[in-house]
Symmetry: C2
Subunit: 505 residues, 2 copies
């Protein structure tokens, strides 16, 4: 193949991928609108629309033309630098193509329709606090997911193909090894903290004007570098980030009048995701490279901005006087140090999304164990709530009073996201590993943050991570950046130092 023909084939491939991407962005808009704007009457029609778009995207991506183009390009890109954009585009597309090719269009349509339906059933079940109502849907979804995994046989573990959708290349054994190392340390840390006198955070639960909370969050993420010309923030019941291309990356948040930190940290968290998408090389737009490395890496960015930046003392050294100006009544008698301790209060609780940094990963581990047990058939769906509750008691010392605060609390399973939860914990671990790296390259990082300056940090992230989009696999990216695999040591060092200070451990 001459260079011109290769270029032509590559352009044909890109054109195909661009149309698939258009469908995916459009599907994302349908989802965004569903959560942000849609009147209740629209739900049935919307589930049809989402199913139709998903099916079409699947059909177009798995078309024989794409397979032929990939085959034709394969020997050519092997002559290129394996890290070149072209070689990686073909590699990532092939990985995705070969995975998707195994999945029948009927499965995709059924999955889209069942999950749309399950979402509504789950909402009702949670409202009525009735796991029994949701159980038939949950069984269907796990069954669909098991059938999906079986399409990828042989595998070491039936959970492997599911994880692979969210963390390309990662295996169940890897995740188990990481979590087995993490769990005793995390449990011991929580134990040590809860043995100490509790810190006060009652001032966070006074009455805070919602618009002022919103505006303060907007100011913070504007400083982070969130580009309002290429995004917007709305309210939704569950905060999330979505994008319809590199130049339209939207976030949502929720604001509680009596819980000031909740909306603010959720805004920072989603902005962390959004900065990742906004930082991807524009030439990757409308292709398989236009997104993050993996969900775990994505979460490392959101958790970094939310926690390593947003819950740090340097950050509040800059922002706390400003926050006091906005809420003088509520905060006049709260020192910076007390505020810092309050927003970092550790309190085992029932709800994952409200969990502090010390207990968060425990919520993840219990979900991981239950997902695996359900898939392996070791646990029946009937016994799930009990299994959930007994683990909450074991890990957190609490007993959920009902299913709404227990097994029904998360949206993920109703959306068919089995194998997703562990990426949250992996994100925490990755964020701390990256943070160690960044501090080597930017020795005055803390001083910059104390000045409210984030260009250095964002610049590093864009250069080392964001701009590369989905070119690399997560473990590969970690090795490139840190020289090691995903590992809990850095995160545990970070947590231990932080809480040793706050709780005088």
């Amino acid at each position: 193949m001459t260079e011109t023909i290769m270029e032509e084939k590559l352009n044909q491939l890109k054109q195909h991928l661009a149309e698939v991407a258009d469908l995916q962005y459009t599907g994302a808009l349908l989802g965004w609108d569903l959560q942000v704007n849609m009147p209740p009457g629209g739900s049935v029609g919307r589930s049809y629309q989402m199913s139709t778009i998903d099916s079409l995207a699947h059909k177009m991506f798995t078309s024989p033309e794409i397979g032929q183009l990939l085959d034709a390009l394969q020997p050519q890109v092997e002559k290129l630098d394996p890290d070149s954009d072209e070689a990686r585009l073909v590699k990532v597309t092939r990985r995705e193509y070969e995975k998707r090719l195994r999945v029948p269009a009927e499965w995709v349509a059924e999955f889209a329709q069942i999950t749309a339906q399950a979402h509504m059933v789950w909402q009702e079940a949670r409202q009525d606090n009735d796991y029994g109502k949701f159980r038939p849907m949950l069984e269907k979804i796990f069954d669909l997911r098991r059938r999906y995994a079986e399409l990828f046989a042989p595998y070491q573990h039936i959970y492997d193909p599911l994880i692979d959708d969210f963390e390309p290349g990662l295996k169940t054994a890897d995740v188990k090894a990481i979590f087995n190392k993490l769990r005793p340390q995390q449990v011991a840390l929580v134990k040590a903290i809860t043995d100490r006198p509790q810190v006060d955070d009652s001032f966070l639960h006074l009455s805070y004007d919602e618009q002022k909370q919103w505006d303060f969050g907007v100011d913070v993420i504007t400083r982070f570098g969130y580009d309002w010309k290429r995004g917007r923030q709305d309210r939704s019941a569950h905060p999330f980030t979505t994008h319809f291309g590199i130049d339209d990356v939207r976030i949502t948040t929720r604001i509680f009048p009596n819980h000031m930190s909740s909306g603010l940290f959720s805004t920072m968290h989603e902005a962390g995701h959004a900065l990742y998408e906004m930082g991807v090389d524009p030439s990757f737009g409308r292709s398989t490279l236009d997104s993050g490395v993996s969900l775990g890496f994505h979460e490392s960015q959101s958790r970094m901005w939310e926690n390593l930046v947003g819950r740090s003392l340097p950050f509040w050294t800059y922002f706390y006087p400003r926050l006091q100006e906005v809420f003088p009544e509520q905060l006049k008698n709260v020192t910076l140090r007390s505020f810092y301790k309050g927003i970092n209060r550790v309190q085992p609780s029932l709800i994952r999304v409200e969990a502090d940094e010390a207990t968060y990963n425990l919520h993840i581990m219990l979900r991981l164990e239950l997902e695996i047990a359900l898939l392996e058939g070791q646990l029946s769906f009937k016994d799930l709530p009990e299994a959930w509750n007994s683990r909450v008691q074991e890990f957190l010392g609490l007993l959920p009073p009902n299913d709404a605060q227990g097994v029904l609390q998360d949206v993920h399973w109703s959306s068919g996201y089995i194998g997703y939860f562990s990426t949250y914990a992996l994100g925490n671990l990755i964020s701390a590993q990256l943070w160690d790296c960044i501090q080597v390259d930017l020795p005055d990082l803390n001083e910059q943050i104390r000045q409210g300056e984030f260009d250095g940090l964002r610049g590093w992230l864009v250069d080392k991570i964001h701009r590369h989009g989905a070119k690399f696999e997560p473990q590969e990216m970690m090795r490139n950046l840190t020289g090691s695999q995903i590992d809990p040591a850095a995160y545990m060092r970070y947590l231990t130092a932080k809480y040793t200070d706050i709780y005088s451990l």
Copy 2:
């Protein structure tokens, strides 16, 4: 073909049409979001998304499967009542299919992309008041439209295929005949009015709180029967109605602090469109019957609620005391009669969307003449602004000081809508013809409106018009309802009576 096989074929057809409808609804959401939410950075990506979705919808609708199903069903439905849902579904789908089949996919993709680009160029040109900047795009669009019309040769007039997209079955000759009858009467009426002392409407231009304006409009259309569980209202630069199925029908409006009636009547207008969509038989959802008869019929509904209801004395007999309660400062010294006269003030003006009922149709006629002249090649694009201005002077006695207030004022041409404008005037005529009919069936209609009761009116419209969706052609519908064709007499009677009262003609 047995009945079972026919049913099976019909279901296959419906399934195909449902998927096409899903794509069209999705395209409509892309458009709604573009105008309501999208950050500016999203515009390039959005034009790709819209083009991809349009092309796919076109491709799916013109697939050979649909042709084969239509052919197989044809002899069967000929045995049915020709007005049955099934016979009409096949008829309307065939008409649409045969039209679309003539249009190459390349034309559709080019049209979508050019119009997306033209929209941005037009916005800039209007802002910079520079017709020259827009002219190349306008020529491209007219050229595309001419190429489109030529696909339908032979025709009596090159404008016929364009009108047919918006008013199925209507011909250029019909429209010209209607307007030739209308124009002298309308011009004479305006002349008679402008010879009389002007009425005062200065109270409409005091300072009115925007939120209170919004809330009042919401109250009004809630009374009309707009169903908030199946819709929502947002702000946009140009008010419009769109739907993503029968159960998600959205409207937009705009509010000016110093022009109270503008936002209110725009809300009523769009609600009129929305009530039409909300009233379509639910079994027509996701099919070619799920919409109105034509744009003219659609406009008859919006203009009816806005003008025949919303600018009537009975309406304000009920609502004016309520409006005075909301804005006591501004309206305390304005009587009901003065208010009524103020909102019906006739004042020739340059901008179509701000035109009153007496001058509105004149704006339409000038556009119609220019579109035809451009298509016929009688007028060059270079001379368009001058031709525009001289007609404005002839029809309205005014001279546009610049192109932004002249030839660049409307969005339609940039969107490729050539042949669309006349539907606005037809809507006015139809609304008055229908109104005469309704008053025969509901002799106490005015009394109901005086009581703030609209169920009778809406019920009539749903029963006689809305629920039938797109089953009938506009002239056919008119004959069914009124026994006559579209004709200006009723509208001129309505206007003459109204202004004879207001201006003591």
